[in-house]
């Protein structure tokens, strides 16, 4: 049995009178690439934000790396935050810093490594995510969409995290770019051995790189497991998701 990295139990989330999650349960194992799926507005990103402590659910329990996220003291929170990297949907690079400074910032703040070593680390991360060397000196406003995703991936990887949270990593990329990004995540996982939790509705990513996934619908997790297991479930949301004209193409192949 693999170790669990994230477990969520009986999560209830409510915005005003609008109930987003009613009894959500899910388990993420070490080393997996885990996909959070669901239609727009099904609360995937909300669930992700709850895992990374940007949002508190109304009730339920969340365990991340054996920490009870809802009952940590500020020091434990700081420690936990250093163990994960987050890639936001729009990149969320600090616009006043260059790409290199964006990547270096956590290393500079949290470690005592000398400047030249930090620079070397930054340059290797930049090359690792497939950015050209001159990109280091550019500001986020000067980057293309694909480069922003890669730069923010490099920033998420700066501290060698144990978990990588990705919020729609391939949205806004062309199919070629999206495939390259998927491959990049696969190969980096191979090398660095982290767990990936990604919110996505890119069917190609789901078919190619995701090991386990859960599908959100009706404010609950309607199915969880490997793709095969999920496909066997006959809940309407899943029918809708995988057997619509776009999904059907893949299912047949």
């Amino acid at each position: 049995m693999k170790n669990t990295v994230v477990t969520m139990r009986n999560i209830v989330t409510r915005f005003g009178v609008n109930v987003v999650h009613k009894d959500v349960n899910l388990t993420i194992y070490e080393g997996d690439i885990y996909g959070l799926l669901g239609g727009s507005g099904s609360g995937k990103s909300t669930l992700l934000r709850e895992m990374i402590m940007l949002l508190r659910p109304e009730s339920g329990s969340i365990q991340v790396l054996d920490n009870d996220v809802l009952a940590l003291n500020p020091r434990q929170v700081d420690d936990l935050r250093k163990k994960w990297g987050v890639l936001f949907q729009s990149g969320a690079l600090y616009s006043s810093l260059t790409v290199a400074e964006n990547i270096a910032i956590t290393l500079k703040e949290y470690t005592e490594l000398p400047v030249d070593l930090v620079n070397d680390i930054v340059m290797t991360k930049i090359k690792m995510v497939g950015l050209p060397e001159h990109a280091a000196r550019l500001f986020p406003a000067e980057l293309s969409g694909g480069m922003i995703k890669r730069a923010s991936l490099a920033r998420a990887l700066a501290m060698d995290p144990q978990i990588l949270f990705l919020d729609e990593p391939t949205s806004g990329l062309d199919p070629v770019g999206a495939e390259a990004f998927d491959k990049l995540i696969m190969s980096l996982r191979e090398l660095l051995g982290f767990t990936v939790v990604m919110v996505t509705h890119d069917l190609d990513s789901i078919w190619t790189i995701v090991d386990r996934l859960c599908v959100l619908g009706d404010k609950k997790v309607v199915a969880e497991g490997s793709l095969k297991e999920v496909m066997e479930c006959d809940h309407p949301t899943i029918e809708h998701f995988f057997k619509g004209s776009r999904g059907a193409l893949r299912s047949r192949a």
Partner: protein, 382 residues
């Protein structure tokens, strides 16, 4: 400090011709400090031996920072020694180190050339000059577009955005009245207080009315109102337009055929030019009242005495001079505010920067414009 049990360590063994570095511990971000020092010592006195062996059998949890540190130091040792070998790598470690070795690319010379400071200064001077020239060129382009939009308004009066103008008058004018009232009342009080003390010495207390009447209406209330408006509305124009530019709303407007100068700039400019003289008149009233209040407290001058004296000494031209300045100041504030808003580039920091610049520029220009008015009107004998 407690000794960290996991910290990365190196033990040095010298065996006749071979120099062995036995590494152990966690080679990751938080545990490297000690090793970095140890490597420094080793590089200071490079061992004069044939071969160096680095054994990492008992290294655990090596991460990218540890790997890069190791590779960098192997590279440095190779400069002084014929043979540097690495032993005890597990498969995973080997794969990781190989990948980082490829990316570090020691072939190129990674030292950067630095140009001399003089040529650097000259380069900066040139860049600054060109950016200033470009900046003023841009301002004229902005003015040109504003005027062309204005002529479009004149040719097609139905296209004037009356609703937007009214809304801006409310936003920039009506809502600013409390703060304008407060500042001009205080200015009236201050002027009256200061002059009351001086005038009383000469027994010329009654002249306080001339002093307040003329200085408030002619100079102070236009200036104070303009400064308040520049700080309040000028900055908000820059921030609003700047955010609209960042969120691509202005581009969206252009593609739909909504000229931003007609829809955003002119309504703000016209609204401020209408509101400003009215606000100045309001500030006149409140400022004079402030003076009256102090005259009564300090000099025991009754309100009716003050008002009757005011009627005989305050020529109407002084009030007009103050009011006439209004539209000019308003135009300057709105033009600078909107122009700086369009200059915002695609990052959040520039909004703050341009908002500051906009307020500073607007206040400076208002005062400069006031000085020009003073000189010209005095020369004309008005």
């Amino acid at each position: 400090m407690i000794d960290d049990p996991n910290k990365a360590k190196i033990v040095v063994h010298t065996e006749h011709e071979c120099f062995r570095l036995i590494c152990s511990g966690d080679w990751n971000l938080n545990h490297l400090t000690e090793v970095i020092k140890q490597f420094k010592v080793i590089h200071k006195n490079p061992p004069s031996v044939q071969s160096i062996d680095i054994d990492i059998t008992s290294v655990e949890n090596i991460d990218s920072s540890g790997a890069i540190l190791l590779l960098n130091n192997i590279h440095k040792l190779e400069e002084n020694s014929d043979q540097v070998s690495l032993s005890g790598t597990s498969d995973e470690q080997h794969k990781m180190l190989e990948m980082f070795r490829q990316q570090l690319d020691y072939q190129e010379d990674r030292t950067q050339k630095k140009s001399s400071s003089l040529s650097q200064d000259l380069e900066n001077l040139g860049k600054k000059t060109i950016s200033y020239l470009k900046n003023s060129g841009d301002f004229f382009a902005f003015l040109g577009e504003t005027y062309s939009a204005f002529f479009y308004y004149l040719l097609h009066p139905s296209s004037i955005r009356f609703r937007a103008i009214i809304k801006n008058i409310e936003e920039a004018g009506v809502r600013a009245l409390p703060i304008v009232a407060l500042t001009s009342f205080l200015i009236g009080v201050v002027i009256a207080y200061q002059s009351a003390v001086q005038l009383e010495k000469f027994g010329a207390s009654i002249f306080i009315v001339d002093m307040i009447g003329i200085s408030v209406t002619r100079e102070l209330s236009p200036l104070i109102t303009a400064i308040v408006v520049a700080g309040r509305s000028g900055s908000s124009y820059t921030a609003q337009l700047g955010v609209m530019k960042i969120t691509e709303e202005i581009d969206a407007m252009r593609t739909m055929g909504f000229n931003p100068f007609r829809f955003l700039v002119l309504p703000r400019m016209i609204a401020l030019m209408i509101a400003m003289p009215l606000m100045i008149f309001f500030a006149d009233l409140i400022g004079i009242f402030g003076g009256m209040f102090v005259a009564k407290l300090q000099l025991n001058m009754s309100y009716s005495e003050f008002v009757s004296r005011l009627q005989s000494v305050l020529e109407i031209k002084h009030v007009w001079v103050g009011l006439i300045k209004g539209p000019f100041f308003a135009w300057l504030i709105a033009a600078v505010g909107c122009y700086r808003g369009f200059q915002v580039s695609y990052n959040t920091e520039s909004i703050g920067r341009y908002t500051t610049i906009s307020v500073v520029n607007a206040i400076f220009l208002v005062i400069a414009c006031d000085a020009v008015f003073s000189v010209v009107l005095t020369e004309l004998g008005i």
